[in-house]
C-alpha cells in the first residue's frame, strides 16, 4: 500500500473519530401528553401517520435532519409538499410529526 493511501485512510479515520467523540446528540424528544388515554392515543396515531409520511416520501431521498427550529418546520414541510406531491392532510401530519 502506497504512503498516499495510508495517509488518506489515517486522515479520514482520525478526523472521523475526533468529530464523533466531540459531538453530542441533540435530538428533540417529544413530550407525550399525560392528560388522559384518549389524548395519548391520538398523539401516537398522529406520530405514526407523520412518521409514515416521512418514511414513504422524505426519506426516499434523504435522512431525517437531526433537529431544527420549530419556526421553520412549516417552510420545510411546504418544500416537501411540492417535491413529493403531498396532500394537505399529509402536510399537516408531517408538521405535527415535527412539532408534536
Amino acid at each position: 500500500m502506497s504512503p498516499r493511501v495510508i495517509a488518506f485512510v489515517a486522515f479520514a479515520l482520525t478526523f472521523t473519530s475526533a468529530l464523533a467523540l466531540g459531538a453530542k446528540q441533540n435530538h428533540t424528544q417529544a413530550a407525550v401528553p399525560a392528560n388522559n388515554t384518549a389524548d395519548q392515543k391520538q398523539y401516537v396515531q398522529s406520530q405514526n401517520e407523520g412518521e409514515r409520511v416521512f418514511q414513504q416520501h422524505c426519506s426516499r431521498c434523504h435522512a431525517a435532519p437531526d433537529s431544527f427550529s420549530p419556526r421553520i418546520s412549516g417552510t420545510i414541510v411546504r418544500h416537501m409538499r411540492v417535491r413529493a406531491s403531498l396532500s394537505q392532510h399529509e402536510e399537516e401530519e408531517l408538521l405535527r410529526y415535527f412539532n408534536p
Partner: protein
Amino acid sequence: MEPLLAAPLGHSILVESRAALLESFAPNSSNQPGYEHTHFIGLTYLQGDFVVSRHFTIVAGDYLIPFNTYNERLSPVWIGNFQDGPLIASLGTFSSGSGLGGMLRGNAIARNKCSIDYNYFYSARSGNEQFNARRGSGGRASLYLPEQRLEIGLSYDRLLQGTHENFYGGHLWWEPKNTAFRLRSEGARGHHAQGYWIEADYRTKAFGGLDSAIGRIEPVFRIQQTFRRDTIVSDSLPLVNTQRADFGLDYNLPHNVRILASYARQFSSTGNHNIWETGIVYRFLFPAWKGK
C-alpha cells in the same frame, strides 16, 4: 456553499431558490510554483410553486430539469453520498441543468398500495448569465409501491433548438422496509452517448441503532459505465467508453454533519486512474424572517 432560500406565501405558494458559491484552489499547471485560485457564484434555480392540490402543482421560473432522479433529487450537496455526481448526470438536462419556463407536476394516482407521480415541463431559450437555458420539453413519470418501497420511473425530453435531440431515461430505487439499505440506479440514453449507474448504501441498526457510533457509518458503493454512440461531443460524458467503480465510506455525525470519503478506479482506453475524494458537509437551517 449551496444556500437555499424557501419562502412560503399563504397556504399554497412557495418561492424557492438555490445558489452555488465555489472557491477553488489548485496547484499551478506547467510546473509553476504556487496555486491558482478561481471563484464562481451562480444561481442554480429560482422558482415559484403554486400548489393547487396534490394532483396539480404549477411551477414557474428557473427550475431544475426533472430528468431521471439525480439532477432534481440527489444533487443537493447535503444529500449526495459521493462528492461528485455520476458520469451521466449531464444527459437529458440540457447542459445547464435547469429550464426556464413552466412545469406541471403532481400525483396522478394516490392509493395505499401504489402511487404515480408525473412532471411535464417546457423550457424557453435564454442566454442570460444567471438564467441560462435551452429550448426543450419533456417529463417524467414514476410508480411507487409503498409496501415494497420500490420506485420505478421513466423520463423523456427533447431539445428543441439547434440539432433536435431526444433523451431517454429510466430509474429504479429500492429501499427495503425497516432497513437502512438503499439501492438506487438510473440509466440514460442521449443522441451521442449513453450510460448507467447503480449505487448502494447501508447503515446498520444492529449495534444500538442508527444513532450509535457504528450505526452512523455508511459504506457506499457505486458502479457506472458510459458508452459513446458517436464521436460528436455535445455532452459532458467521457470521450471514450468508460467504466468506474466508487467505494465510499461516509460518517453521519450529529448536528447534520456528514463526512464523505471515497476511492474510485476509472477504466478507459485512454488510461486507468485512481480518484480519491473527501469532504465534509454541514447543513444548517435557520429562519430568515420572524415566524409564527
